[in-house]
């Protein structure tokens, strides 16, 4: 039994690494999309705002797996060859970006109008108001929701196994296929996913406390 675990360790470790890398890439890219999308929803000209609104609502209403398949099997039909990992990361990042756009819009809009007025009244420019008045206050409201999204993304990253990326889920499946020890190894997978997400939540709470003020 112990031998089984030890023998499968390298494969599981590589899978875990892929899961972490995919999650980090998706979160970085998705947060970037989300910052752009959120600012467009808040301050964009009307046509841009509508475009982003369509993007956000559409992406939030489509199952992530359909998105991944659409890019993985759909892009080649358009003459674009994409790797499985590229398709997975792009699809999940687009999904993540839609959520983060909404989170940022909501966070900024929840700041009292008087704060903007006060910033304007002392002569702060738009960028100065963002930097000194809006972002520091919005961050406190955005951060908890962002951590939730990050946790969701780590879980969703298991979907890339369905386009044959050897992430943690796929690695476990391979090990189970070889050893027939389903209960043991799915318990290992569950523990590892939980460990990642628990760490994320703890880090989120730490950050939140740091931004909280008297």
């Amino acid at each position: 039994m112990m031998e089984l675990v030890l023998a499968s360790f390298p494969l599981i470790a590589r899978g875990l690494l892929v899961t972490i890398l995919v999650s980090v890439a998706v979160l970085l890219l998705g947060t970037l999309f989300g910052i752009g999308g959120g600012l467009a929803l808040l301050y964009g000209a009307r046509p841009l705002r509508w475009l982003v609104r369509i993007y956000v609502d559409a992406l939030r209403g489509i199952p992530q797996l359909v998105l991944i398949f659409a890019i993985f099997y759909g892009f080649p039909a358009l003459g674009l060859q994409v790797s499985a990992i590229f398709a997975g990361v792009l699809a999940l990042a687009l999904f993540c970006g839609a959520h983060v756009s909404e989170i940022i819009r909501g966070g900024v809009e929840s700041i009292a109008r008087g704060q903007v007025d006060a910033g304007k009244a002392i002569g702060l420019s738009f960028v100065q108001r963002l930097r000194h008045v809006i972002v520091p206050q919005a961050l406190r409201r955005i951060l908890p929701a962002w951590v939730n999204t990050a946790v969701e993304i780590v879980k969703s990253s298991s979907l890339v196994s369905l386009v044959s990326v050897v992430d943690l889920t796929m690695a476990i499946q391979q090990v189970v296929g070889r050893t027939r020890e389903a209960l043991l190894f799915y318990a290992v997978a569950a523990t590892l996913y939980f460990a990642i997400n628990f760490t994320l939540s703890i880090m989120g709470r730490r950050l939140e406390n740091r931004f909280a003020h008297a």
Partner: protein, 263 residues
Amino acid sequence: MPEAVNPRNRLVVLQGLTKRFGTTEILRGVDLQVDQGEVVVIIGPSGSGKTTLLRCINFLEDYQGGRVLVDGELVGYRDGNGRPAKLPDRVIARMRADVGMVFQSFNLFPHMTALDNVMLGLREVRRMSALEARQNATAWLERVGLKDKLSAFPAQLSGGQQQRVAIARAVAMEPKVMLFDEATSALDPELVGEVLSVMADLARSGMTMLVVTHEMRFAREVAHRVVFMDQGAIVEQGTPQQLFGSPQSDRLKSFLSHLARGG
């Protein structure tokens, strides 16, 4: 008694100011001039357009007709032929820096200490060094009686203290004119006095002030001129003695009698 003011320097000029929200007319062609050093108190029932009038002067509201001039400069729009175009953000920001405003709900930045609230504009807009901004902000907070609250956050201060920080934040910018929008309306009665006395002190120092308030005693004692507004227009204006002693219009008479009955 307020001293006489030099009438030559028109600091704020409103000409035919018109403001609409959709189809509702909030201001219907308001003409008003405020001279340097003058304290003008605006009174009137709620919904009469007093607050909107103030907010047009530092362009927190745009306007659809007429002109707003501060120290000879057209506020918010490019002066020229054809359709008026809004000025770029940076130019509007520079104009706003010269017009201080105090709000009914204080609007202090909750994530900053009292000192940082006052320093922000000095650093970012007036481009002072950290040391200079700190000395300046400290001096103003001392002047409004908050020497021992420099490092307090807004949530740790009473309403009256918060509003005094807000006044220091506005005045520290050394604006040409100060706008007070019902600065004491949100305060508990026992805290109104400390804010009004800071405002009176400011008026005595020669600050040009436009004050929207329901405090008739303040209007009587501090104002050079009182303006009565109703339904988006100025109905009557004059010295406090004229307006409170012998109101001419029925609307002002009824407004004053309602106030008297209300307490």
